[in-house]
């Protein structure tokens, strides 16, 4: 039995964070949570993380900045962006910066899981 993949969920809206964590856990992932950009970055660097679910609208450091820095240190780490910002240019910006998927709210949690599985190869 393969080790379950560890996913970092960085979402400052606590209810959503808990929901995503619940679903991912049920789907067999191990979940660690971050409340803001700074914490997300720290956890990314210091812990062994296989994928990141990143909200764009977070206090202190927004998701794009976090994405930039993650990609600078760990370019192969899949990052899925989740955002209320649904404008084209934000989506393109996120994808340009290296996000593997960009989901806009309202979103389908099923899609999130699908995207994760695709990125983590099964």
């Amino acid at each position: 039995m393969s080790e379950s993949k560890r996913v970092l969920v960085a979402e400052d809206e606590a209810r959503l964070a808990r929901m995503i964590a619940f679903k991912l856990a049920r789907e067999g992932f191990e979940v660690i949570a971050a409340n803001d950009g700074g914490e997300a970055l720290e956890l990314c660097m210091n812990r062994d993380v296989d994928a990141v679910v990143l909200d764009v609208m977070m206090p202190a450091m927004d998701g794009f900045q976090v994405l930039k820095r993650i990609k600078a240190y760990k370019p192969n780490l899949p990052v899925i962006m989740l955002s209320a910002r649904s404008q084209e240019k934000d989506i393109n910006y996120g994808l340009e910066l290296g996000a593997s998927c960009y989901l806009t709210k309202p979103f389908r949690p099923t899609e999130l899981v699908e995207c994760l599985r695709r990125q983590l190869g099964g």
Partner: protein
């Protein structure tokens, strides 16, 4: 009864009538504000802007931050403004010929370089020496210009701004990250809106980190507590009341948003008054009315601008005197509006009210005290009556303030601790025993200064925002 006594009695009666009118109108304001709040709660229930989603169709906004000798706080302010949540906006910082390191601090913090960008002087202003941009923040523009005062700095900012709406924020204010989205909403919901104002609240002692207000606390300083009550009464519900009557005459210089074309058309801010924010709004009223345009000025009670209020008597005194001078100048410069039916509610109701009950009130109030004392001495009035009247007057004042605190409770309830709210009620009582008289005295001085042509801003002692880290260091 001798003639002198008769006259004194008449004067007393007049003063009492005046007093009833003033406070009666303020109470009426609160009642009207109550209506506005119920409307606000209603729309909040059905539209839900807890966490506003971005709109795809929006109007881009320029945020103008005039700065003069703000080297201590300017970088923090600009950072917090840059982190506002809004789809598309630019930040225009105007260095109004500061004599300290304001420009240098920003240059270093944001790696500025000088641009050869051209723009039109839509509004005349003092010479712009240079415009800087930043690679890291492509939506930041910094204008360096010759000193010309706040109005002139704002005009320069408008000239350099390229978006249809502009928002002016004071360099020492902090606005919530979502405030911009909220304050632009009126411009999306209603095409008649030409300007909107946000509310200013007292930030002293609040924890502000990363441009976000984390904890809202009541200051321990008595002077600040008095001002907090005042701000609730006058700046929140007073303005909400006026706005509901379509008679909004001031949009705070600390947090207001305007349609750029309207401001350019009216000629921009005046540079020869300290009350440029009110003066502009009055002039805009005049222009709209004379064009017969259907227009609206909105006051929004929710997006909040947090600002440091003076903590010492000297600064507070200077501020209040300056405000009174600004009020007088704004009214004088637009005196054609007084009781002029052409200007509808503003002309017939708002303007006379501000003239009689705001501008002249310190004179009448303080004269009132004097006359009362004189009357007592001369025996025109008997002691029980005077005491009874004073008690009623004070109770009326307390009612005014407490009702404002009550309105705050049923609407925005920003103070999470009941203890703070009750403390405010206590100060609502206390303010009638000295604080109000003090502010009346300062306003009287301001009025006198105006009549004898004192100009300018004076110096205010600036304080750092109390960031969490600082507080921890102290502990």
């Amino acid at each position: 009864m001798s003639l002198a006594l008769k006259i004194i009695l008449v004067i007393n009666a007049l003063i009492i009538v005046y007093f009833l009118l003033v406070n009666g109108t303020y109470l009426l304001h609160n009642l009207i504000a109550l209506g506005a709040i119920r409307r606000y709660n209603f729309t909040r229930a059905i539209t839900d802007y807890e966490r506003p989603f971005y709109s795809t169709f929006y109007k881009p906004v320029s945020i103008i931050v005039p700065a003069f000798n703000e080297e201590k706080t300017i970088v923090e302010t600009v950072r917090s403004v840059l982190s506002l949540r809004y789809p598309e906006f630019e930040v225009v910082v105007v260095n109004d010929g500061s004599s300290d390191g304001t420009l240098e601090s920003i240059k270093m913090a944001f790696a500025l370089w000088e641009t050869d960008e051209t723009f039109d002087y839509d509004i005349p202003c003092e010479e712009i020496r240079a415009v800087y941009r930043s690679d890291e923040h492509p939506n930041l523009k910094v204008v360096d210009k010759e000193n010309g005062g706040k109005g002139d700095a704002l005009n320069a900012g408008v000239n350099v701004s390229s978006f249809p709406l502009f928002c002016n924020i004071d360099a020492d204010s902090v606005i919530d990250a979502w405030s911009l989205l909220q304050i632009v909403k009126p411009f999306v919901e209603d095409h008649r809106v030409q300007a909107a104002g946000g509310v200013v609240r007292v930030a002293n002692e609040c924890d502000i980190e990363g441009g976000e207000v984390r904890d809202i606390r009541l200051s321990r300083k008595w002077l600040v507590r008095f001002q907090t009550v005042e701000y609730l009464r006058a700046f929140l519900f007073g303005r909400l009341g006026w706005s509901s009557l379509q008679t909004l005459m001031i949009i705070s210089g600390a947090f207001g948003i305007f349609r750029r074309s309207a401001v350019v058309e009216v000629g921009g801010y005046r540079t020869d008054t300290v009350g440029e924010d009110m003066e502009l709004v009055l002039r805009m009223h005049r222009m709209m009315c004379s064009r017969g345009k259907d227009y609206r000025f909105t006051f929004l009670a929710d997006p909040v601008c947090w600002t440091q209020v003076p903590e010492d008597l000297a600064s507070l005194s200077r501020q209040r005197r300056r405000w009174q001078r600004g009020l007088g100048e704004s009214l004088a410069m637009n005196r054609g509006m007084m009781l002029n039916p052409r200007y509808k509610w503003v002309g017939m109701l708002g303007f006379p009210f501000f003239f009689l009950f705001e501008l002249l009130s310190p004179v009448i109030e303080l004269t009132g005290y004097l006359i009362f004392v004189v009357s007592l001495i001369l025996g025109a009035l008997n002691l029980p009556f005077v005491i009874a009247f004073l008690v009623s007057a004070i109770l009326l004042g307390i009612l005014l303030s407490v009702s404002s605190i009550f309105l705050e409770e049923i609407s925005f309830h920003k103070y999470p601790r009941l203890r703070d709210v009750l403390t405010l009620c206590g100060f609502a009582v206390l303010e009638n025993f000295g604080y109000r008289q003090l502010t009346a005295w300062w306003r009287l001085r301001g009025l006198i200064e105006l009549l004898f042509r004192r100009r300018g801003w004076g110096k205010a002692k600036r304080r750092h925002f109390k960031s969490v880290r600082e507080a921890e260091a102290v502990r």
